[in-house]
Symmetry: D2
Subunit: 271 residues, 4 copies
């Protein structure tokens, strides 16, 4: 068939009938295996969900979406600041764009040891790396989501016995100078609730975790501020955002608290 032998039309490179530039054009919900460096222990393999995009000028009808996947294919398997920056430079070039955006989300596992028995089991944390790239400059953001336990200070103060507790999730995003480990952000979050949580706890650990949590009751506001304090004291971190959600055990809804801070300004973004 004649049609098959002719060069195929490049529809995307044609003109757009509506001459508006697009902020981001790309792919999302694309899964792939990746390798992440582990603090002091080599690396671990995990599974990522990718979103990649570039800007599109008003004169082009479409982006060649397969080029994002080709760029991911070429990415060195080991995810790091350098390989991530190269990926973004690569998609900017492959798609002849001015700006690029990329985000990889993945569970990241750390062995966590129970406080009394020392029994350990991996805890999975939902992490992400996110970047905005323009003119050779990468604005790079690390993110972690860390479950903790909170004991309600109000409930503890007013009750003759007990206090309601629940799982809370501390989400942190941070920008920084130099190199920062996911482990550092996770450690700050784990210390910001009433107690860290664990996958494997024997009875003596459960006693310690519960009693420790009751010694340090924390509203969702307290957990957000404790994480913010830890992040503000970290010498490399120059911007962060904290959002804590507490799955209140006396309700079917959640409580939350959030703040963000640019440290060179010495105060919160809106303060």
């Amino acid at each position: 068939m004649e049609k098959n032998n002719a060069p195929m039309q490049d529809v995307q490179s044609g003109p757009s009938s509506v001459a508006l530039p697009l902020d981001r054009v790309g792919v999302k919900d694309l899964r792939l295996p990746i390798t992440v460096r582990v603090k002091g222990r080599g690396e671990q393999q995990t599974v990522a969900d990718a979103e990649l995009a570039v800007d599109l000028p008003s004169k082009l009808k479409g982006a060649h979406m397969s080029r994002f996947v080709e760029a991911l294919k070429e990415m060195s398997h080991g995810l790091s600041y350098d390989t991530f920056k190269s990926l973004m430079a690569d998609i900017t070039e492959r798609l002849a764009a001015k700006r690029a955006y990329a985000r990889l989300r993945f569970p990241y596992f750390l062995e966590e040891s129970a406080p009394v028995s020392g029994s350990s089991f991996p805890m999975g944390y939902d992490c992400q790396v996110e970047g905005e790239y323009e003119d050779g400059h990468l604005r790079f953001t690390l993110g972690v989501a860390v479950p903790v336990m909170t004991v309600c200070p109000c409930s503890k103060a007013i009750c003759d016995e007990g206090a309601h507790s629940q799982r809370a999730i501390i989400r942190i995003k941070a920008r920084f100078t130099g190199f920062l480990w996911l482990e550092d952000l996770i450690a700050i979050a784990r210390n910001s609730g009433s107690s860290p949580v664990y996958a494997l706890l024997k009875r003596e650990d459960e006693k310690e975790v519960t009693e420790d949590a009751f010694r340090r009751p924390a509203f969702v506001e307290d957990a957000a501020r404790a994480a913010a304090l830890g992040l503000s004291e970290h010498p490399q971190i120059k911007w962060f955002e904290v959002r804590v959600e507490s799955q209140e055990s006396i309700h079917d809804h959640s409580a939350f608290a959030s703040l963000s801070m640019r440290k060179d300004a010495g105060k919160t973004n809106r303060g």
Copy 2:
């Protein structure tokens, strides 16, 4: 155009190239507004998600899927046993089938009053009606999902102070004789944890809810058995299934317990 005026081909009624009967063919994730009867108080409007299916004999290539939607359109807006049975008879007939399946899932709201202040606010419960229809007979199942609070009995027994608590979800499905209200299943579930939960609690309520929960510590196993006991004592219920999931506040995973019971048999299904 000639082609447009010709009668359109009925592809679905043609023969299947693979002569296998199908158990269920239908539509799912179809949203629609519905009206549900409320115990002693008229009715409430809510939003349902529908799944409807019939069997398909080996000789037919496909089902006419639009007929499910037409049947839903004809359904009297007020959802009840009778209208649901009519819907199922209708889809069986419209699709020339032997058997039909239907499930409607919807949030259902009940005003719940706080135990001390009496303040009230609607609590939304995820409910469902489910049916299997054949030869004019409907096997009808009601289902509810009810959040409660559980206090860990082990944690309470071994700790010098406190005990971890968390939100747990009690899911019940039940078959019964006569008429049964969603309210009856919800009430059984609300009484089966350490405490019911509420949307609106003032400080004096929070104190009472917490202390009440600490007076009645319950493992996920205890909550499942308490619900099962309540269901087994209900004179109309002839079969039920209970599944409780507790979102453990000292872990990032959940604990669960389940059982089902056919009451004419006087014991659990597997016992």
Copy 3:
């Protein structure tokens, strides 16, 4: 017991050990029934998911979270710009805050008639109202998510027969002067893909919808620009954001395109 009779401690109003102001403190995932006004046809009842928050100064330990729920309880059932603004003024006052944030998400149903047979069935659209309130001023944003069908222009141009099509979701947020109906945003979105989609289509409708879609192939970029064009031509809309995601049928990932525009500036936010 003596403790019970003493006035209960107001822990939230006490000092915070970390003197950082919080951007937002509040509740989320709180479900409630609401009533929404329908263009030209009275109102409809639906089910909302609420997120409400205020800022918290550095000197206060916590917010009285139950006051958000009390404010929702007092809200006139009919959701409108005026009742939403009153809700936000109310939470600002109840919580002695400077700023408030609120968002209600809900499915909203419109009868959509098939293009040839005229058969109609309600289509549910995920909508939201969102507000930021400060000093008596409300920045109000309406949002809709509208499924459409897209036919790939590249696939259509290069294939001897056919072209891949898929469901795409057009998400619009808009700020505006005067009064704007959800219906207006939904109509713009429905016209921005290759074809609108419907719950109920008879065979003659399916033929028309498919052929119509094949006459108007649209990349995700085209759909985003078409929606942007419609929004930019609407006299009341002063800011909008469009994000289109296409669930590519030849892949297991999605393509997306987005832009935002401030119309007084006469160009896109980043352009």
Copy 4:
């Protein structure tokens, strides 16, 4: 403190106040890294979500939930039939139970090569292993979820041009004799729609995939039957269940078809 030095109470081993046996008691939503064997290529590391349970007799108040996690910790990292069976024997013994249940869900990646260019990229498939264990016997089930593309045969027959297509998900569960690879189930599913889907397609591939799909239009019923035919012809498979869901591009709801078959009976379960 005296209490701390006393042996801690074993609450779980105490009597239950409600003497009902429980079908399943266990843990769920527990994440961990695992290693899965790959057909002909060693193994791959991925991330699993585990659900583990045992039965609980009426005389025991609770199960020692930490023992499930200890059993997972002891599990040889390489997931296989043998290690999975050992895990189940282990939890049965650790928890002094008669029966055990286990399910591990994980994304599993296979390089898939585009049909013309040969470009390859990993495709992630949601897979699971599931087991019911009693008296040393394991009933073992493999499961896969595979996205494909379907072109509507009715739309193709009645339209002057085009036909709607969409992504569909083929879910298979199978029990078998001997050893069966996930790859075998995935291959059957990939061949059962109008076309397999790929992460990376160049223009010549997109042309081929689309034209191939249009040559093989398939209702959701056809895809279910094609998969069933492939499974029924596989000599090792003795039971299977197929469920196909098609995300109809002309609707906002899905169509589905399902069947199950016990091959020794020579017909479907309900046929």
